[in-house]
Subunit: 399 residues, 2 copies
C-alpha cells in the first residue's frame, strides 16, 4: 500500500487517553476515540484487527468450532429466564424490551436446543466473532476495556463430564496457539480465577504487562498463575506444586474459559438421554477472547519509547519501504517486486524529510524497515533494520 | 465439510415467517429467527454471508476504498448537530445519551475532518462492513428488512463536483460488478429515486423479484428504472429516452447511492481551500449495500418449489457429494480428491435414506450434486446434476 494514499496518518497530537495502548495507537494513526471505551479503526488498525481475527478463527476452526453469527440485539425473555436481565453491564434499548449482547449464553442455548434431539448430536462447539457491548462505568484502559469491542466467543456442548473436560484441555492448547501467533506466549499465563457460582474456579489467560488492571501470583515452576482475588483462599501457594515462592505481577486478561456445566442448559431445559435412556442436562463450556482487547495487550507488551513494535503475524505490513533521495523509479520497481514475492509492503512515497519518515516508521512499528537511497543503490543494496533491533544491515537486492 | 458434523441442519418445521427468503433459509438450516427482524446465522448461512461480504470487499478495494471500522454505539452530540437525533429509525440506549448506528455520516465526517488539512488530501473514500441497527416498526420481509443487519457503507470525499461525479459513475460500475458476481445482474436495474432534501434524485439498485416491497417503472430500451415514488414527477416516461412504454415490476432495493454534496460537511464545517486559496465545503457521496439483505434477495430471485438455487460465487459449497449404498471407502477418497483439486465440498456422510438426502440437497441448493453409488462405481463414474437443471449426467472419475 502506498502511504500517500492512506487518508489517515500518524499525527503529533495531544492524546488525552491515559492508557499506553490507546495513546500509541491514536498517535500512530491506527485508531481514533469516538467516546470513552468506543473506538474507530482506521485503515492500519483495521488490518491489524483482521489479522488477529483470522488467527483466532483459524485456531477455533482447528479446534473443531463451527462458525456462526448471533445478533447483538436481544429480546428480554431469555435473559429473564436466567435472571440476568438486571445485570448492570447490559445496555438496554429505550422504550423497547431489547438489550445489547454483552455475552451470548442466553442466545446460543435456545439456538442449540433446536438441533439437539439426541446424545448422538453431541459433542459440538460453535463460535462467533462479533461485537459485544458492555456498560462499563469507567472505560479508561483504551482497547483493554471497551464499551463496544470485538470478541470471539465459543460455546461447547457435551453429554458428560469426561467429554467436557477433554475439550476444555484442548481449548487451553488452542488458546496458547493464538497467543503464540500473536507473539504473547512467553508473557501469557494460565491463571486460576474465581469461578462464580457454578464451579470452584475458572481459568483466565493473563498477559504480564505493566499497565495490567489485574494482579497475579505466578508460580515460576509450573508457569501457572493465581489471580489475586483467590490467592488468600489458596493460602498464597501454587495449588499444583505447593510452591510458596510466587512472583506478583501486573497483568491483563486476554482470554477466559469457564466450565458452565448445566448452569445455562437447566433454565432452558436442554437435556439428552444417554445410551441407556438416562436423561441429564447437557454440559457446557464457554471460551472467550477479546480480539480488540488482544490488540491493546499486544501494544502494551510490545512498544518502546519510539512507538509500537508489532509481532510479525499481527503487523499490518511485513516491510516498510522508505526511499531517500532521487530513487523513485528504482523504489517503485522494488515495491512491485517485493509484493510479487508475497510480502505485504507499506511504501512511503510521500514528500517528507528522512527524519519525519523514520520517526513515523518507528511509531507505526512494522517489523522490517527497508531504505533505498542513492548511496545504497550504488552498492546495489538496500539498508534493512528490524524494528526491535538497532543495527542496520546492507543487503544485496535485484533491481 | 462433513454434513454429519454440522450441528444445524434442514428441518421440517412450521415456519411462521411470511417471506420466501426467511422461510427457505430457516427450513434449509441457514438461519434462525431470534425475533422480528433479527436473525442468527448458522454455519451454512455464515459461509454465504462471508462469501457475499468478500465479493463486496474486493469490489470496494478495487474502487480504491480504504477499509475502516466505525463503532455501532454513538454519542448524542454529532446527531444533534445534523438534527437527526430524533430520527425514528434510531434505537436509543436507556439512561444514556447513546444511540445505535443506523447510518454513519455523523461519525465518518468528524473522523475524516481530523485528517483533511488541504485539498491535497482529496479525493479519497472509506468503507466499512458492519452491523447496522434500525428501529423498523414492521420487519416482515426476512433478511430484506432487518432491525439488525450487516451492511457495507462507503463514503467518498471530494474537492469539486467533477471529481464527485466521476467517482459516482465508477461506483455504479463497481456495484454492478457486485451484482454480477452474486448472479443478480440480469435482474438488477439502476433506478432513479427520491433524493431527499439535498439533490433531486438518488440512485437505487433494484432487483426484480415477486416479493419486492418496491414498484419500479422499467424502460427496456435504457435498462433504467424509475421508482414509483417519483414516476408522476417524471410524467410516466423514461427521463433518458422519453420512452413511455415502461414495464411495471415488483422489486427489492439491493443498494443505494447518494450525492450528499455538502449536506454533512457543512454542519461539521469540513472545508478545504483550492489551489487558488478559495475555500469551500468538501463534497461527499455515500454508497450502501446491505450484505444480509443481498443474501435475502438472492434467495428470492433464485429458488424453485424444491428449495434454494444458489448462484456459484455465493453458494456455501461448490459440490454436494452424496454416497448411496456401500461405497463409503470410495466416497471418502473422492471427497478428499475433490477438495485437493480446490473444490469446496459438502459431503453427506449421514445415515439417511436416498430420498431424504436428495430432498435436503435440493432444499440447500448447492450448484452441483454428485452421487456415487455401487451402480455408478461399476462404470467408474459419478452421477452429476446441476441444481438448476433436471437432467443427470454420468461422468468418469478417477478413483
Amino acid at each position: 500500500m502506498k502511504q500517500s494514499q492512506i487518508f489517515s496518518r500518524a499525527k503529533k497530537e495531544n492524546v488525552t487517553d491515559q492508557s499506553i495502548n490507546a495513546n500509541l495507537l491514536i498517535r500512530s494513526g491506527f485508531i481514533r476515540k469516538l467516546m470513552s471505551g468506543v473506538y474507530s479503526y482506521l485503515p492500519l488498525g483495521s488490518i491489524v484487527l483482521k489479522n488477529i481475527e483470522n488467527i483466532v478463527r483459524q485456531e477455533m476452526n482447528k479446534l473443531g468450532g463451527q462458525e456462526i453469527l448471533m445478533p447483538a440485539l436481544h429480546p428480554k425473555e431469555p435473559w429473564e429466564r436466567t435472571k440476568r436481565w438486571q445485570n448492570k453491564e447490559m445496555f438496554k434499548i429505550k422504550d423497547r424490551n431489547f438489550s445489547l449482547g454483552w455475552t451470548h449464553e442466553e442466545i446460543v442455548v435456545p439456538l442449540a436446543k433446536q438441533f439437539i434431539d439426541s446424545y448422538k448430536e453431541l459433542p459440538f462447539s460453535v463460535f462467533q466473532i462479533q461485537n459485544k457491548f458492555r456498560n462499563e462505568a469507567r472505560a479508561k484502559s483504551g482497547l483493554l476495556r471497551g464499551r463496544e469491542f470485538l470478541m470471539k466467543d465459543l460455546y461447547s456442548f457435551h453429554q458428560n463430564q469426561e467429554c467436557l473436560d477433554s475439550f476444555y484441555e484442548k481449548a487451553i492448547k488452542a488458546y496458547f496457539k493464538v497467543y503464540q501467533r500473536c507473539g504473547l506466549k512467553e508473557k501469557t499465563f494460565l491463571t486460576l480465577a474465581s469461578g462464580g457460582s457454578f464451579s470452584k474456579y475458572s481459568h483466565e489467560f493473563q498477559t504480564v504487562i505493566e499497565a495490567g488492571e489485574d494482579e497475579i501470583y505466578l508460580c515460576p515452576k509450573c508457569a501457572l498463575a493465581i489471580n489475586k482475588e483467590i490467592i488468600e483462599e489458596e493460602k498464597y501457594q501454587c495449588p499444583q506444586c505447593k510452591n510458596k515462592d510466587l512472583k506478583v505481577e501486573k497483568a491483563a486478561e486476554v482470554g477466559n474459559i469457564f466450565k458452565l456445566q448445566e448452569k445455562y442448559t437447566e433454565p432452558f431445559d436442554l437435556k439428552v438421554k444417554d445410551e441407556k435412556g438416562k436423561e441429564s442436562f447437557v454440559l457446557m463450556g464457554c471460551y472467550g477472547i477479546g480480539i480488540s482487547r488482544l490488540m491493546g495487550a499486544i501494544v502494551e507488551a510490545f512498544h518502546d519509547e519510539k512507538g509500537i513494535v508489532w509481532p510479525k503475524e499481527v503487523a499490518p505490513f511485513d516491510i516498510h519501504l522508505i526511499p531517500i533521495g532521487k530513487v523513485k523509479k528504482e523504489a517503485d520497481k522494488l515495491y512491485d517486486n517485493l509484493q510479487k514475492e508475497g510480502n505485504k509492503v507499506l511504501y512511503d512515497d510521500r514528500d517528507k524529510s528522512v527524519g519525519e519518515k523514520f520517526a513515523e516508521a518507528d511509531l507505526i512499528g512494522i517489523p522490517l524497515r527497508m531504505v533505498l537511497s542513492e548511496k545504497t543503490l550504488e552498492k546495489k543494496c538496500v539498508e534493512t533494520k528490524k524494528r526491535n533491533e538497532t543495527k542496520t544491515k546492507l543487503q544485496k537486492y535485484k533491481g
